[in-house]
Symmetry: C2
Subunit: 259 residues, 2 copies
C-alpha cells in the first residue's frame, strides 16, 4: 500500500495511492494512518489534481547513517566505519516532492545524496533482529542534501545537513517493500549520477535499527536514512534532482537560489 | 515568572511557580502556555506535593553550541571556533529534574556539562540582533550529558550526546531573566566541579540565535543549549549531579546504571 500526504483546504490530509482503471488516484483517509486506524473517506481524487507533501513530518528526528556504502566511503576519502556512523537532521529540514531545495548563500558546494528512508511505525528501544522489522511502517525515498564545504569546515554536520529544505522525502510511503536489494538511482537534469543497490549497504536495515535503538528511542513518524551510494556531486540553482528507488517511486525537487 | 510542567493524573500539566506566604506553591494553568493564552485554573498546589517534569519537550530539536567558553575549549584540547559549533540532541534525550540519567553500558566515561538553555517561544528564521530577544520564551537549566569516549570514537556526536536521558532540563522556565552575566555551577555529590559565568561565553545568546536561524527554522518549544564552562568531568552510577544557575534554580539528577 502506498500512503501519501497531500495538501488539503486547511490541514494536510492522508490518502492511499492507487489506480482507477488507467487513472492514478488517491483515496483520502480519515486522520493520520500512523496514529489512527486506516479508514477511507470514500472520496476518490485524481492524483494529478493534488499536491503531494512530504509523506511524514517526523515528530522527533531524522536519524541518518553516514558512509554506509563502501564505494561512497571511498569517494569521501575514508574507510567504512566499524559501527554505523550516526548523525541527525532536524525535522525542520524536511520538504516534500516538487518543493524547492533552497541553495544557501553560506555554501558554494551543495550535493545530492539519494537514499532509502525507513519510516518508523511504533515506539521502540533496544530492538532485537527479530523485532526490528515489526516497527517499520514503510519506506520512502530521501535526498540527504549536504553542503559539502560546510561539512568539512564545521566538523559536526548539523549545519551542513540541517538547512531548511535539505531533507526531501517522498513521494509516498510504501508499506509493502523488501529493502534488501533494490536499485537507488539519482539523476541531475536527467543525467544519471548515482546508481547503486541497497544490497551494497555495509549495515542493513535491521542492523541499523538495532544499533540506533541501542541508545535512542525511536517514535512513530521518525525517519531513518540508510546512507547513499557513490556518485554524489554538486547541484546548482536551476537544476532538477530526482532520486528513484525501484518499487518506491521517484522523488524530484528543483534547486532554487535562496535570495 | 517561573513556568513549570508537572505530572498530572493523566497528561502533564503546566503551572506558575510562586509562594503563598513562606510556602512554595504552583498555580496550575489551562493548557500549554507556549501555545495557549496564560490562564490560571484557580487551584493552588504545594510545590513539594507535585512531581516536576522537564519544563518543555521540544517539538522539534535541541540545538547545542560546542566549545563556547574559552577555558572549556582549552580543556577539550582545542581553540574556540570562529563560528558557533552547532550540534543536535534529539528530543528523546530530554528528561526532567530528579529523573535518572541512565549510564549506558556502551560508555565508560559519561560526563556532566552544566549549561544555560534558551527556550524558543516563536517560530523564527534569519533573526536580526534586534529581533532575537523577542523570540525567547524564557530560560532554564540544562545538563548536556556526554559519553566522552564515544564522542571521540564516533567523530559525529549524535550517539555520544543523544542517548535517552542525556538532556536533563529544568526545574522550570524563567521568563524574566538577563542571561548576560550569571553564574553557572555544577556540583557532583555536593562538590563543585564547574563554576563559570555566562559573560565568558564566546558567542552570546543573541549571536547564537542569529547564527542558528541563519540556516535552520526554530519552532516554539525548541531549546538551544549555549555551551558549558570548564571543569567537565566523569560521573558514576550512584552519583547526584546538580547544575545551578543564579536566578534560575537548580537542576538535580541521579545517575543510575542502565541494566
Amino acid at each position: 500500500m502506498r500512503v501519501a500526504r497531500f495538501a488539503g483546504d486547511d490541514d494536510p490530509r492522508y490518502g492511499v495511492v492507487g489506480a482507477d482503471g488507467d487513472t492514478p488516484i488517491i483515496a483520502p483517509l480519515k486522520g493520520d494512518p500512523l496514529y489512527a486506524p486506516l479508514e477511507l473517506t470514500g472520496e476518490k481524487l485524481a492524483l494529478e489534481d493534488v499536491r503531494l507533501l512530504a509523506p511524514v513530518i517526523p515528530r522527533s528526528k531524522v536519524v541518518c547513517v553516514g558512509k554506509n556504502y563502501v564505494a561512497h566511503a571511498a569517494e569521501m576519502g575514508g574507510n567504512v566505519p566499524e559501527e554505523p556512523l550516526i548523525f541527525l537532521k532536524p525535522n525542520t529540514s524536511v520538504i516534500g516532492p516538487g518543493e524547492p531545495i533552497f541553495y544557501p548563500k553560506q555554501s558554494q558546494d551543495v550535493h545530492f545524496e539519494g537514499e532509502l528512508a525507513i519510516v518508523i511505525g511504533r515506539i521502540c528501544r533496544n530492538l532485537t533482529a527479530e523485532d526490528a522489522p515489526k516497527v517499520i511502517y514503510g519506506y520512502t525515498v530521501a535526498n540527504d542534501v549536504t553542503a559539502r564545504d560546510l561539512q568539512a569546515k564545521d566538523g559536526q554536520w548539523a549545519r551542513a545537513k540541517g538547512f531548511d529544505t535539505f531533507c526531501p522525502l517522498g513521494p509516498w510511503i510504501e508499506t509493502d517493500f523488501d529493502p534488501s536489494d533494490v536499485r537507488v538511482r539519482t539523476t541531475l537534469n536527467g543525467e544519471t549520477k548515482q546508481d547503486g543497490r541497497t544490497s551494497d549497504m555495509v549495515f542493513d536495515v535491521t542492523t541499523i535499527l538495532q544499533y540506533v535503538t541501542s541508545f535512542m528511542t525511536l517514535l512513530p513518524g521518525d525517519v531513518v536514512l540508510t546512507g547513499t551510494p557513490d556518485g554524489v556531486g554538486p547541484m546548482q540553482a536551476g537544476d532538477h534532482v530526482a532520486v528513484t528507488i525501484d518499487g518506491l517511486g521517484t522523488l524530484t525537487n528543483p534547486v532554487v537560489a535562496d535570495d
